[in-house]
């Protein structure tokens, strides 16, 4: 599987990753060779096999509906890059 430069640009955008132009081609080559490795999966016909997403095939345990958390805003916001009036700040979002 060979990716094109444009494919890698699109993937990087979808993943919100800035990739410098001068290393873009390296990513194209690396990602293409990883996809070649991945394409080995096609050696096996797995049609009809039920997908396995959790190794133990377990089911979800449920939590009782109780409020167990208390306000820790000050502690959590100490590690935030930009906070004011209790709000996390980001460049203006246009809707």
């Amino acid at each position: 599987m060979t990716l094109k430069t444009e494919d890698v640009r699109n993937i990087a955008h979808l993943a919100r990753l800035h990739i410098d132009e001068d290393v873009l081609e390296q990513y194209v080559a690396d990602l293409s060779s990883i996809l070649d490795l991945v394409d080995q999966m096609n050696q096996v016909d797995s049609s009809g096999v039920a997908p396995l997403s959790n190794p133990l095939d377990a089911t979800q345990r449920l939590r009782d509906d109780n409020v167990t958390e208390s306000d820790q805003r000050d502690k959590f916001q100490q590690i935030a890059p930009d906070v004011e009036a209790g709000l996390y700040r980001v460049p203006k979002v246009i809707e």
Binding site: T59, Q60, D65, R73
Partner: protein, 479 residues
């Protein structure tokens, strides 16, 4: 009839009335200081994990049972991946394949005598996002994540509605249902119950659906109707001018009463859904569903049928009385006092009481005239203590807080006159004062009887029993 037909489907987000969030133990209470109810899980801190709230699952099943939906024995949570500041993890935990509630349906009555079945494609559980605040800082947006992680039930309808009116009737139906079920407080102003509408138009007779737009930011039923109607007109104008409709998300602006394109959502989304590996499939046993079914309250549709069949109410009145839980509760509380007067009671609730509530802008639960007071009023009408007309005056006095029915009748001297001697005296006086009309009646002009009744009632200040007056007048005028 227009050559255009509109096709509407709704996506309703109902916040479930759990105490804690869907995947964390933080409180869901509305209105706290920003980010004080966002715990480590809600903030998506590195290393945290979600644990599913049992009550949210149970509420979703309750809804599913109520709309007679298919409920699968396995339900799976998936991640919907996209970047947005109010979405802390960069993905929303939602459901994609195997939603908790499958295909179901509800019935709506958009107008008297009309009935329509609306299909519900699915209803799934997901977590709410936080809120972006745009007006607090000049160049920055502020993010409050208190709402992040509040459980939502997203209810997706089939595109079965053909007018804004039908869409509103459907939305009201769901609104009423979730409140009957006590799974959502239904507060649209606080965003507990939100409607997005998918609107498209096509030429009447076409099978193919037109390009649709999705309308967001609608926070009342009135705005829902206006937004859809605006959008239908906009789309018709576009097509009639030879343009085409662009598939996009549009924001309803209530102040300008228009919809406009949402630039930030322009980009075609690739949500990369996949099963959330932090959560396992939810197993739902048949016995769980049966337990929930057994615990359901009487639902509006069942109530309505009971009112029609057991109480003999009209379809229309039964629909209105069951349209919301509080009205039905009011009716049933009053009915317990006057079980034989359900028709009269229904008329009073749907007539004078509803009128007064609308005028005052208050909910039936806050009515100054309690169900017990209204029932007493009906008792006094039925036992001929007061006439229907006088009853209106008594109702008005009760509304103003002047006391109970009997107290008002007594204080204002409104007791009906049923003493035939007293009525006869009034009749004699009226007949004596109106010889011309007596002549006309005797000449065969039956209509004049109404005039006499009116005069006698006026003389009695409305207190004479109208039935008695009628019968006695007839007798007297003949001779």
């Amino acid at each position: 009839m227009s050559e255009w037909e509109s096709v509407i489907g709704l996506e309703i987000h109902a916040q479930l009335a759990t105490k804690s969030k869907i995947f964390s133990g933080a409180s869901t209470a509305f209105g706290a200081e920003p980010n004080t109810q966002a715990c480590a899980v809600d903030l998506g801190l590195p290393g945290v994990l979600p644990v599913l709230n049992r009550e949210a699952v149970s509420m979703a099943i309750r809804f599913g049972v109520a709309i007679e939906a298919e409920i699968d024995h396995y339900s799976v949570f998936a991640r919907k991946n996209y970047f947005y500041p109010d979405l802390p993890k960069g993905y929303q935990i939602s459901q994609y394949e195997l939603p908790i509630v499958g295909r179901g349906h509800v019935f709506i009555s958009p107008a008297e005598g009309e009935h329509k079945e609306i299909g519900i494609t699915r209803a799934h559980l997901e977590e709410d996002a936080g809120k972006s605040i745009h007006d607090q800082f000049p160049d920055m947006s502020g993010i409050d994540l208190n709402r992040a992680g509040t459980p939502l039930l997203e209810i997706v309808s089939e595109p079965d509605m053909r007018s804004a009116k039908e869409a509103v009737a459907y939305a009201r139906k769901i609104h009423s249902l979730v409140r009957y079920l006590e799974i959502c407080d239904g507060n649209m102003q606080e965003g507990s119950f939100r409607c997005d509408a998918n609107v498209s138009i096509r030429r009447r007779g076409d099978d193919k659906l037109g390009t649709r737009t999705e309308l967001k930011n609608i926070n009342s039923f009135r705005f829902l109707e206006r937004a859809i109607n605006f959008e239908i007109e906009r789309q018709i104008d576009l097509l009639e001018d030879g343009d085409s409709v662009v598939q996009e998300t549009r924001l309803y602006d209530a102040e300008r009463d228009e919809t406009r394109s949402m630039r930030s959502k322009e980009e075609a989304n690739d949500y990369r859904y996949f099963p959330d590996p932090d959560l396992l499939p939810v197993a739902i046993r048949e016995t769980d569903i049966e337990d929930i079914r057994a615990s359901l309250p009487e639902l509006p549709e069942q109530k309505k049928q009971r009112y029609i069949e057991d109480l003999g109410l009209s379809d229309y009145n039964a629909e209105l009385l069951t349209a919301n839980r509080e009205t039905a509760l009011y009716f049933e509380t009053a009915l317990a006092v006057v079980p034989k007067q359900c028709g009269l009671l229904a008329n009073w609730i749907l007539g004078d009481l509803t009128g007064a509530l609308n005028k005052a802008g208050i909910e039936i639960g806050a009515s100054p005239v309690t169900p017990e007071m209204l029932a007493q009023l009906v008792v006094r009408i039925a036992d001929n203590t007061i006439s229907g007309k006088i009853a209106k005056e008594v109702f008005e006095a009760m509304w103003q807080g002047e006391g109970d029915v009997d107290g008002i009748i007594e204080a204002r001297g409104l007791k009906q006159i049923t003493d035939s001697g007293a009525i006869e005296a009034l009749i004699d006086e009226v007949i004596a004062n109106n010889p011309d009309q007596v002549e006309q009646f005797r000449a065969g002009k039956e209509k004049v009887l109404g005039f006499f009744v009116g005069q006698v009632m006026k003389q009695s200040q409305g207190k004479a029993n109208p039935g008695q007056v009628n019968a006695m007048l007839r007798e007297k005028l003949k001779t």
